[in-house]
């Protein structure tokens, strides 16, 4: 009879179109929407190289320190890098002015006795160029100062230490790969879906309890062990929700190509626990809260939304530290 109840409850749950929508279709839809939003977002975040021009004069060519510094982080006609900060053109002064006027470049650099930057407007790209130049100047003057005071240091790797530009540049270049934070959304989405198991928990307890439904009253007068019925109904709810969660994960992994790293096994384990918790929570609310089913569903939606929010579904920078 436990088994019969289990299979009949499976039928009842799977045929409950309304709740099936919320526990299965809704997360899938959210996942799809997130996925599309992130596609756009990461396109937007994609760091596009800043186009600059350098007036090609002898003073610049002689300043080998600066040439190598800026070429290290730039795409030039001869040298293409994927993580370059600048897209660099060598021009004459007139050409540079014209390019800037036509908005073909963000700014141009003249390097004679000192390094001068000309820009047309102020913005994030202009700031980046300026920061780079400031950083270079600061570093080189530090090296100059130290070298003046303590020439030995130059030989002891001072330049390598200070001209640690690679790090500085790498950090910016990170923006180019897909932002890691999106996976947090998908984790929270999975957690939310586990939690939606509470709807099934509520449904099962409602169907069993004499004071919650007429069907429950009918069951309560039958010569059956209530606890056994509860366990098999609970397992039916658990089964369905777990399958729904696994479907969601498969969808994320195989259709949307979300990368969970090598942690899939742990994720599945966490989902089993999460689903169990979700269904249990639903049974808890169903039996403890006084009031109609509407109120209980409201509580379930409210709490799962709050928790999903805290987990990072709405705001991925939510952290606990």
């Amino acid at each position: 009879m436990v088994l019969r109840n289990y299979f009949y409850r499976l039928k009842c749950i799977v045929r409950d179109r309304h709740s099936m929508f919320w526990t299965l279709m809704f997360p899938l839809l959210l996942a799809t929407m997130f996925h599309m939003a992130f596609l756009n977002l990461s396109n937007g975040l994609n760091f596009s190289q800043i186009k600059i021009a350098i007036v090609d004069i002898d003073e610049y060519r002689n300043n080998t320190g600066f040439v190598s510094a800026i070429e290290a982080v730039s795409n030039t006609d001869e040298n293409q890098k994927s993580d370059a900060l600048f897209n660099l053109k060598y021009t004459t002064l007139e050409e540079a002015r014209k390019l800037l006027d036509d908005d073909k470049i963000e700014g141009y650099i003249i390097c004679d006795s000192e390094i001068k930057l000309t820009v047309k407007e102020t913005g994030i790209n202009e700031t980046i160029i300026k920061s780079f130049l400031d950083y270079y100047l600061q570093t080189s003057s530090t090296i100059g100062t130290i070298a003046g005071v303590n020439p030995e240091a130059v030989n002891k790797g001072l330049i390598e230490t200070l001209s640690d530009k690679a790090d500085y540049l790498k950090e910016i270049a990170y923006g180019k790969s897909e932002p890691d934070s999106t996976v947090v959304f998908f984790y929270s989405l999975i957690a939310m879906t586990c939690f939606y198991g509470s709807f099934w928990g509520l449904k099962e307890v409602t169907a069993l309890q004499a004071d919650l439904s007429y069907e429950g009253a009918r069951l309560s007068v039958a010569p059956v062990h209530k606890m056994k019925m509860f366990i098999s109904s609970f397992l039916a709810a658990f089964t369905v929700e777990l399958i729904e969660v696994f479907l969601l994960i498969s969808y994320l992994k195989f259709i949307l190509n979300v990368s969970f790293g090598g942690e899939l096994l742990y994720i599945l384990l966490a989902c089993i626990t999460g689903t169990f918790t979700g269904v249990t929570y639903g049974t808890f609310i169903a039996s403890v809260v006084k009031g109609g089913e509407g109120i209980k569903i409201g509580i379930l939606i409210g709490t799962s939304m709050t928790m999903s929010f805290l987990a990072g579904l709405m705001y991925e920078k939510m952290t606990y530290s």
Partner: protein, 310 residues
Amino acid sequence: MVIKVKNLVKRYGDLIALDHLSLEVKEGEIFGLLGPNGSGKTTAINCILSLLKYDKGTIEVYGRQMSPDAYDIKRRIGIIMQNVAVFDELTVYENIDYFCGLYVRDKKRRKQLVDEAIEFVGIKDFVKFYPKKLSGGLLRRLNIACGIAHKPDLIILDEPTVAVDPQSRNNILEGIKRLNSEGATILYTSHYMEEVEEICTRIAIMDKGKIIASGTKEELKGMINSGERLTVELFKTDSSIIDGVLNLPNIVSAEFDGNLLIVRSIKGKNNLLKLLDYLKSRDIDVGKVYSEPPTLNDVFLEITGKELRD
């Protein structure tokens, strides 16, 4: 004795829903519990079934104290509640099979019982339907099939005909009589006195949580002083007629309803003849004439001073 309830008290806060209720249902009878809305019929049934805790009193079913885990008593009971109790996600067949399966484990036997129940309530053409697709009357029949499929010895029906079309109602009442003739004891509640009068062998009338009278319908009608209700069609209506009629012996009230003269009498001999003699003596022409014996409504009216129906 199938059901024996003694001094049952059930309170909802300050409201006393059952006030020292006592009743006995004997083997093989159709026992009717008749009472207006809110008189406590459902509460009494729920207490008998151990669905509700009660404050005082004893309830015995088949000679044993009823309790939530008295499985061998429960196995002999079938209930049909006031509200339809079926799962919307299961078809007609699956619903009956599910509930029958709570009592009967053997698959072959169960299939036979389910088929019989479907036949019994006449929903053979709808076995693949989901409850939402059934009309109100068919839904009630499904509700009944779910309660009786396991062939219980005691069937408790709580207002099974509320909001049912006349055809389904007759089908249901006939069905109850048939179940009874096949050996089941029936406890039937209703606030329709016609139904109770039609099918019940013994009746208890309830009001405000108390049994105010019980017995066969003849016994009940014998308890009261009201006699028959006389209706006479007249071709002229004149208030002097009322005055004259009220002077006749045994007459309690007389009034016009359109051109019908309605007269209530107390028990006595020749009430109708005396009325007609009086009308003839005044040369009043008379059309149709009816005489109706007192109804359970009259019993209720006389005991409580109010109408059974609201």
